[in-house]
């Protein structure tokens, strides 16, 4: 370590370099060749030997902090948006019937249609050809040699399917045609006379939507407290998948996520380093 001392004899001040962690060091004055001892520790008797004191080179280190930025309302806005996502999600879970129908009709109005594929089989799992398929009281066609009927550009939403075949019961079942992928159903019909009505769906339970919404609320609280940026980000990302109120919940979550990312400097424990 580098430092300076003063010769007790000629009072000459000079700079010297001594090994680190040294308590005492013998030095020779470059001016008068006087030999004396310097003490580098802060021991109590150092005050009595003022002429041999040692001063380490340079000033104590200072931490340079960037100037404090003024707080904005952005995290609060994001918190309120995520709280709305929670309300949207829970409401959608409870009123999901209206949610599904309206979301799909929104897609339909935007020109999005679905594809449908039906596989009709008998009691022994044999494929059935020439089975008549009607959707919402409109005749659509018959199954092919593989027992498959497929159609594209069908409007989205709940459809009432009627399957009729000679010597088999007429089956009426409710199906859901959803966007961006082929809605495929395997339908088993039974021999006999009369009708059978089957309600069946493969979409997951709406309880999941409510669960995703809870994590959006967790993000809202983090954002409100301006703490835990990561939790706020994850909360808003999970909120996107809550799909509350005709996708409004997803859009609001995305907006909240953007606001959180813009105002990330205002969060404690933020990624930009508020911990020292």
């Amino acid at each position: 370590m580098k430092g300076r001392t003063t010769c007790p004899k000629c009072k000459k001040e000079f700079v010297l370099d001594i090994p680190d962690n040294t308590d005492k060091q013998e030095v020779t004055c470059p001016n008068c060749s006087n030999n004396f001892t310097i003490k580098t520790t802060n021991s109590s008797d150092l005050n009595n030997e003022e002429e041999c004191c040692w001063e380490e080179h340079g000033e104590p280190r200072k931490t340079i902090l960037s100037s404090i930025k003024p707080k904005t309302n952005r995290p609060m806005i994001a918190a309120f948006l995520l709280a709305f996502v929670f309300i949207f999600g829970v409401s959608t879970a409870i009123f999901s019937e209206a949610f599904i129908e309206t979301s799909l009709s929104t897609f339909s109005n935007a020109g999005v249609n679905g594809n449908l594929e039906l596989q009709v089989i008998g009691q022994s799992n044999e494929t059935l050809q020439n089975v008549s398929i009607s959707i919402d009281d409109t005749f659509y066609g018959k199954t092919n040699i593989n027992g498959v009927y497929s159609t594209c550009n069908i409007s989205l939403g709940f459809k009432t399917l009627e399957i009729s075949y000679t010597d088999y019961k007429i089956q009426t079942r409710e199906i859901l045609v959803y966007p961006f992928t082929t809605s495929s159903y395997e339908i088993k019909i039974n021999e006999g006379i009369g009708e059978e009505n089957i309600s069946y769906d493969t979409i997951g339970c709406t309880l999941i939507i409510a669960i995703f919404s809870v994590f959006a609320l967790l993000g809202a609280i983090s954002s409100f407290n301006r703490r835990n940026l990561d939790v706020a980000i994850v909360g808003s990302i999970i909120g996107i998948f809550s799909f509350g109120f005709f996708l409004i919940g997803a859009i609001v979550s995305i907006v909240a996520l953007i606001i959180i990312l813009i105002s990330r400097d205002e969060f404690e424990n933020g990624k930009k380093g508020k911990i020292f």
């Binding site: 859901l176 309600s199 339970c205 709406t206 994590f215 967790l218 983090s222 999970i238 424990n269």
Partner: protein, 180 residues
């Protein structure tokens, strides 16, 4: 995670409510005569089984109606007790139980809301996300055991999240009271 010096009263109330709700899931099929509630498979969010619940007594009727709204109640994906189908599918039932467990844990323990909690969220939601999505796009058909495991995980983490939300809201209210 640390043990609370005093248990959280508000979390305890929520825990008791969710525990009662979870117990009712099992009590309903047991309390009803055998073979009185079956073949509930239907659409999610649609009250398509109302007629089947018409003759049930009020508490069980309400329970099954809520299940009808929130759950598809597909028979093959539900547990049968006393020859009666449970009001929710196996995954949903596990989620309710998981929420009760999570809240019960947070009544006596405190989990700090920090970056580490994100790992718990991912641990809880990724399995149910993978299982549910793969089933939805028909890559595979899950089993009731897997549905219960993934549902329990998701439920527990949701219970933790609800407990933390209760705690944080309580802290915010306390701060506001001090300010005023």
């Amino acid at each position: 995670m640390e043990k609370r010096e005093k248990f959280s009263k508000i979390t305890l109330i929520f825990f008791i409510l969710f525990l009662i709700w979870a117990i009712l899931q099992f009590a309903a099929p047991l309390a009803l005569p055998s073979n009185s509630v079956n073949e509930l498979s239907g659409l999610v969010g649609v009250s398509d089984n109302d007629k089947k619940f018409e003759n049930l007594s009020p508490p069980w009727k309400s329970l099954y109606s809520i299940g009808d709204k929130l759950c598809h109640q597909i028979e093959e994906r539900s547990f049968i007790i006393n020859s009666n189908q449970m009001p929710f599918c196996s995954r949903c039932t596990a989620i309710w139980i998981g929420i009760a467990i999570g809240l019960g844990f947070l009544t006596f323990y405190h989990i700090e809301l920090d970056e580490k909690f994100i790992y718990l969220i991912l641990l809880g939601l990724i399995p149910i996300g993978i299982d549910g999505t793969l089933q939805l796009i028909k890559v595979w058909e899950s089993t009731n055991i897997i549905r219960v495991i993934t549902g329990l995980l998701a439920g527990c983490i949701t219970g933790f999240a609800i407990g933390i939300i209760i705690h944080e809201i309580n802290e915010i209210i306390k701060k506001e009271k001090k300010k005023s």
